[in-house]
Structure formats: structure tokens, C-alpha cells
Amino acid sequence: MKCSWMEIDCMKYIDGEMNERDRADFEMHLEGCAKCREILQDFQELKSLTGRIKMRDPTDEFWDGYWRSLYRRIERKTGWLFIVLGAAMLVTYGAYRAVQSFGTITFEKVAIAVFLIGVVILLISVIRERIHQHKTDPYKKVKR
């Protein structure tokens, strides 16, 4: 056994993932290698420390509400999808009727114009917000 294998063997040894034969070889190597013994001890201490720490579990109320809130989100997303699909179908139909009655002001034309004005206003607002965010983002130069 060589010291250069330490990184893998040491992990297997302290995590109990080594078979008996390799374990015996490893222990024999440790007996004659102070450097590896020291490294192993450091890793064992770290494992002992992290092994005594766990992530705090949220409250029972959190888990009781987890599925309900997930289900609500799925329902809402589905609802929005239907609304957008329906609106797109209505606009397409209205546009078709508007083309048919070219040159006159009809209810369909007014409805489409109102809808499109709303979409344009929202679009401009979102673009303006994104530009503002990009200019003022304090972390934009931070690299991961």
C-alpha cells in the first residue's frame, strides 16, 4: 500500500466502506507510516464533529402545510395556463373577425386593442424594471 492512495483509502476506512482484507492492509501500512496516521486522525476528528451535527428539522406545521401549498401552486399554475390559452384563443378569433370586417369599428377590434394595449404596458414595465435591476445590481460583478 502506498501513501499516494491515502485519499481514497482513508475515506473508505473511516466510512466503513473497506473490505476486511483491504482494512488489514491499510492498518498494516498505518503502523509504519506516521504521516498517514496523522492524516487519518485529522479526518476521524472531523467526521466525529460533523457526525454530531444535523440539520434542524422544520416544525410539524411546516410539513403538514407542505403538500397543501404545493398542490395549491400546481392548481394555480394550471389555472393560469388555461387563462392564457383561453385569452390567446379569444384574441386569435377576434383578430380573424376584425380582418373580416376591415374598415369599420367593431366590438372585437376594440376588445383586441384594449387587450394588446394592456400587454404592451406590462411588457414595457417589465423591460424597464429589468434594465433598472441590471444597472443597480450590486452583485453583477461577483463571480461564483
Partner: protein, 198 residues
Amino acid sequence: MSRPDQVEEISRETLRAWRSGSVDAFERIVKLTMRRTYSIALALVGDPDDARDLSQDAYIAAHRARRRFDAEKPFFPWFYRILKNKCLNFIKRRKRIKSAEIPLELIEDWDDECSPDRQLARRDKVMAVRKAISSLSPEHREVILLHTFEELSYAEISRFLGIPAGTVMSRLFYARKALMGALGALDERNGKREGNKA
């Protein structure tokens, strides 16, 4: 915290029913895996609210993509990739991690006879580990989380991440080394601070 066997309790029938669109089956899957899902997201992004939203986003994405899932294979390794992508994209967008907020605690019993000094030492230890974990790269944090907090074996981590077991060991070695380095640096800083006070 959920254990590996809890995740594998999802029956083939449940997975097949979910794939066919059963909401009841989806609810069973979510309830069996939500604790693990949430803790992985929390360890990756560091904020409880973001972790809840991202873990739920991952379930929504998985539910939409359920027809692409092979019901004869285990659910969690497949789902884990969706969850991890959600979290890493979020970190990339945010470009920083609120890792100091990862809620960790000592498992040891807080007996009444424990002296204030000992309590303070325990708190410092948890804080130091929390800071050290937050300083790891997402790749290293991931193996530490799966091995230490989720108690997965090398073979399970290898299956989760789609990498050879040797790479798992190697990543774990470097992750632990980085953790030791970060803890050592913190100890050194604390030591200097104590020295300055004296």
C-alpha cells in the same frame, strides 16, 4: 431527517400510478420524499424560504415531466437531478449563497447539568461548521450533505450523482480537506482575536 430506506419505500405501483397522472400517488411520493428534498435544497441554497420554494418547483417540474420517468427505476436519483438543477440555476442567478443561515444543531443531549461554558463551546462549534460548510463549493457541499447529513453510502451517492464510486471518494476527500481548512482558518482567526483581546 429522512433515511435512504424511507425513499426506497415508494412502490412500483405508486410510481406507475403517478406516471399515469394519479394525484394521490403524487401526494404519496411527495410525502415520502419531502424531508430529504427540502434538506438537500436547504444545504445547497442556504435559505429556508428559498429551499421550500425550490423544492416545490422541483416537484412541479417532475410532475410535468413524469411521462419521461421510467417507473421501473428508483424515483429519487432521477428527481435529484431536477432538484439540483433548480438549486444551481438559482444560485447562479443570485450569484451568492446565504449559507450562514443553514440551520444546523448538535445531536448531543443538552442536559441540565451542562455548564454555560460548555454550552457556549457547543454553539461555537456548530457556528464554525456552518461557516465552513457555507465556504465549500456546491460540488463539495453536495457530497458532504449526501454522505454526512443524508447518510448515503458511496454506491448510493454514485447513483444519485451519476459518477463512479471512486470519484465520490475523491470528492469526499477534497470536500473534507476543504472543510478542515475552513475550520482551521476559523480557529486561527478566533485564536488571533482572543490573542488581541488578551
